[in-house]
């Protein structure tokens, strides 16, 4: 018997029921649908042209830039939310955008996909294009080591030989996918260093993925990204088709860069700051132009997209601006610190560390983050507040980084923490892990009407 239609109806009804109860963002509707019809996603995605974005860091921001081009050109599309990037959430999103008979209501979909889940998802989605942002160590209790993540992505992509792959040439792990797969591949990268002062950090991939010799680098942009080459087997950074050729300016709110593609140079304004967002921008630009958008449409998406949920999101409920930046793994957190400590002006930092499943239950990664860099801010760092389930561990890490006891404060209670943020006369930068961000937003929404994530 054909179970697709009952599955779609069950999915839609569950979603509606949850909304009526005022709850959103759960995996339940997709779970219900997949129990009735395990291959529902493949059925629903058959006639939708899909862009998939995966990789460890930058998925959400890259997806928002890509989405912005669909918005600005008036295309009929839908996208999943960052919290719904597993098979359950993606299935529910497809069901919500189809009729009960499974006919798609949109021509296109922009789908952010958890890197460990690509194995199961890409096979069913059969996307036209896949953008792989990078591969870093991330929540080792969930994802295992980087070679494992790389293998998951490779298996996923091997089921979609017709998809165009946009790969980060500067990530030796990501770029190695090209030789393993028959797909048409387009590389993007950054040809020049992006930071004047770069934090020293542990490399997640110091040894050649092919022969295990140590890489040599012409330059490093951050972490293990840059111009690598293996002195033994010759594996090296492929020449990107789309490159960032110059960093023209960087401020607290934006960057201006030069992107060169097929010999033509464009000046691009990105409405987000930070070196990691330069990668997101050039990756999204590449995906968009490969998907058929013009360079000028892609450029206008880079400058026009809205800050993604928890990615330098700005709140104005306090005396001073409050910005929230999600942190989840050493590479991402080091980039955030790199950016924040290079800003001019005084700052109060708030770090909220949780160890729920979605955050990663192992918090030892905070010891791989170079919090010592905060000392370089000198007088302009006014206070560091620490909260979350593992606040005590975070405080210990900061003390060991050399932050003076007098500058550090553990505030366990979120209401008190929000009070402190709101009354700060110095700009506040909040760095929560994923579930800490959800908790904080829930309180903010109750207190100040800040919107919740499923709205």
């Amino acid at each position: 018997m054909n179970m697709q239609i009952p599955a779609i109806i069950a999915c839609k009804l569950t979603r509606l029921a949850l909304r009526l109860m005022g709850r959103g963002g759960t995996a339940l509707p997709g779970k219900v649908a997949l129990r009735i019809c395990p291959n529902l996603l493949g059925y629903l995605a058959k006639n939708v042209k899909t862009v998939v974005i995966t990789g460890t860091n930058g998925k959400t921001t890259s997806a928002r830039i890509v989405e912005q081009a669909f918005i600005q050109t008036g295309k009929s599309y839908f996208a999943n939310k960052s919290g719904a990037n597993l098979i359950t959430g993606i299935t529910a999103e497809f069901a919500a955008h189809s009729t009960i008979f499974g006919r798609p209501k949109c021509e296109y979909a922009v789908i952010e996909c958890d890197e460990a889940a690509t194995k199961a998802i890409v096979r069913q989605l059969r996307p036209s294009l896949v953008l792989v942002t990078n591969i870093f160590r991330d929540q080792l209790d969930r994802y295992g080591e980087v070679a494992h993540t790389l293998e998951n992505i490779r298996i996923g992509l091997s089921a979609a030989p017709e998809a165009t792959l946009c790969l980060n040439a500067d990530c030796s792990l990501t770029a190695s996918l090209a030789a393993e797969l028959p797909n048409r591949t387009v590389f993007f990268g950054v040809d020049v260093p992006i930071y004047k002062n770069r934090v020293s950090e542990v490399s997640d991939a110091p040894y050649c993925i092919r022969c295990k010799s140590e890489y040599e680098y012409d330059y490093v942009t951050y972490a293990h990204l840059g111009g690598y080459r293996c002195p033994k087997c010759g594996y090296s950074r492929p020449k990107p088709r789309v490159s960032v050729t110059r960093i023209l300016s960087q401020t607290a709110d934006s960057s201006r860069i030069e992107i060169t593609a097929d010999g033509a140079s464009h000046t691009a304004d990105i409405s987000l700051p930070g070196g990691f967002n330069i990668y997101n921008a050039v990756g999204a630009f590449t995906a968009l132009t490969e998907f058929g958008f013009s360079a000028s449409e892609a450029l206008s998406a880079l400058g026009g997209f809205e800050c993604a949920f928890g990615r330098m999101e700005k709140f104005d409920f306090g005396l001073s601006p409050i910005r929230m930046i999600l942190v989840k793994n050493p590479a991402g957190c080091n980039q955030v610190l790199n950016f924040l400590t290079n800003l001019d002006g005084d700052a109060v930092f708030v770090i909220c560390l949780n160890d729920n499943y979605a955050d990663g239950t192992d918090i030892s990664w905070i010891w791989d983050v170079n919090f010592e860099v905060l000392l370089g801010m000198g007088e302009s760092l006014k206070k560091v507040l620490v909260s979350g389930i593992r606040a005590d561990d975070m405080a210990l890490r900061l003390i060991y980084a050399g932050i003076p006891d007098s500058m550090l404060e553990v505030v366990y209670d979120y209401d008190e923490l929000i009070e402190r943020m709101a009354s700060s006369e110095t700009p506040v930068f909040v760095m929560p892990t994923y579930t800490a961000m959800l908790d904080l937003r829930r309180r903010l929404s109750e207190k100040f009407g800040v919107s919740n994530f499923w709205e």
Binding site: E145, S203, P206, K212, T361, S364, Y400
Partner: protein
């Protein structure tokens, strides 16, 4: 007083924040006016190991661990064995701990020879043992409680030539079967506990430092430190796991 500390393979074995142990060793020594000189020795780097009082080896990804085997075979394993026999202090964690043993048996039966400095070996299994852990060190190993986090698929079995570091109260420990966690032979210690292990287990950290100081200087007493933050992190996890 001073301790010369060797951080072995910081380039390859650096997976779970274990370099926090180095920060802790340095901090707890300098707080007492003891000089701490830390030298990182990378894969393939020539270095005379006899100059050091204390060694740290962390855990790594399987991929990087394979890179080390040729370095170990090229004489480093013998140097490490000699240092252990000489009573030098070793703290080895997870992959580094496994490497101190005689060998590793992969789950499809391939045998991989390791350093052979401690009488133990490890068998690879597909199921990983992941989660917060709590164990009590045996009496001769300070008797203190240690909190941490384990994430390993290898099961480690001790031979008669070494003793367990402690007894598991919460978590899986060496192999999930015999209730033991970690190992000690002379002044070489191994544990599966990430966290990193030293910062939030100050009693164990001081015990470990004392083994190195006493080998070099005879009887030593360490003045107590203000461990407010250390104990807060320790007690939080203790409270959570004791429930």
């Amino acid at each position: 007083m001073e301790l010369k500390i060797c951080h072995l393979y910081p380039d390859a074995l650096n997976l779970y924040g274990d370099q926090g142990n180095i920060i802790c060793i340095r901090r707890r020594l300098t707080a007492r006016g003891i000089e701490a000189a830390v030298t990182g020795v990378r894969v393939g780097e020539k270095c005379d190991l006899t100059q050091f009082d204390m060694f740290f080896i962390g855990g790594g990804q399987d991929f990087e661990q394979e890179v080390l085997l040729s370095d170990l075979a090229a004489g480093r394993a013998a140097d490490i064995r000699a240092a252990v026999e000489d009573g030098k202090t070793f703290l080895t964690i997870c992959g580094g701990y496994q490497m101190m043993g005689s060998h590793y048996l992969t789950h499809d039966g391939v045998r991989c020879d390791f350093i052979g400095a401690m009488d133990l070996y490890t068998e690879g299994r597909s199921e990983r043992m992941i989660g917060n852990m709590l164990f009590r060190c045996t009496g001769e190993n300070s008797g203190s409680l240690v909190v941490g986090f384990e994430n390993h698929s290898g099961r480690t079995y001790l031979g008669p030539g070494c003793t367990p570091l402690g007894t598991v109260i919460c978590g899986r420990g060496n192999n999930g079967e015999d209730g033991t966690e970690g190992a000690r032979y002379k002044n070489a210690f191994g544990s599966y506990s990430h966290g990193p292990i030293l910062p939030k287990n100050p009693a164990f950290a001081d015990f470990l430092l004392k083994t190195a100081l006493e080998r070099r200087y005879g009887s030593v007493s360490l003045e107590p430190l203000d461990d407010k933050y250390e104990l807060a992190a320790h007690e939080y996890m203790l409270g959570r796991l004791a429930q």
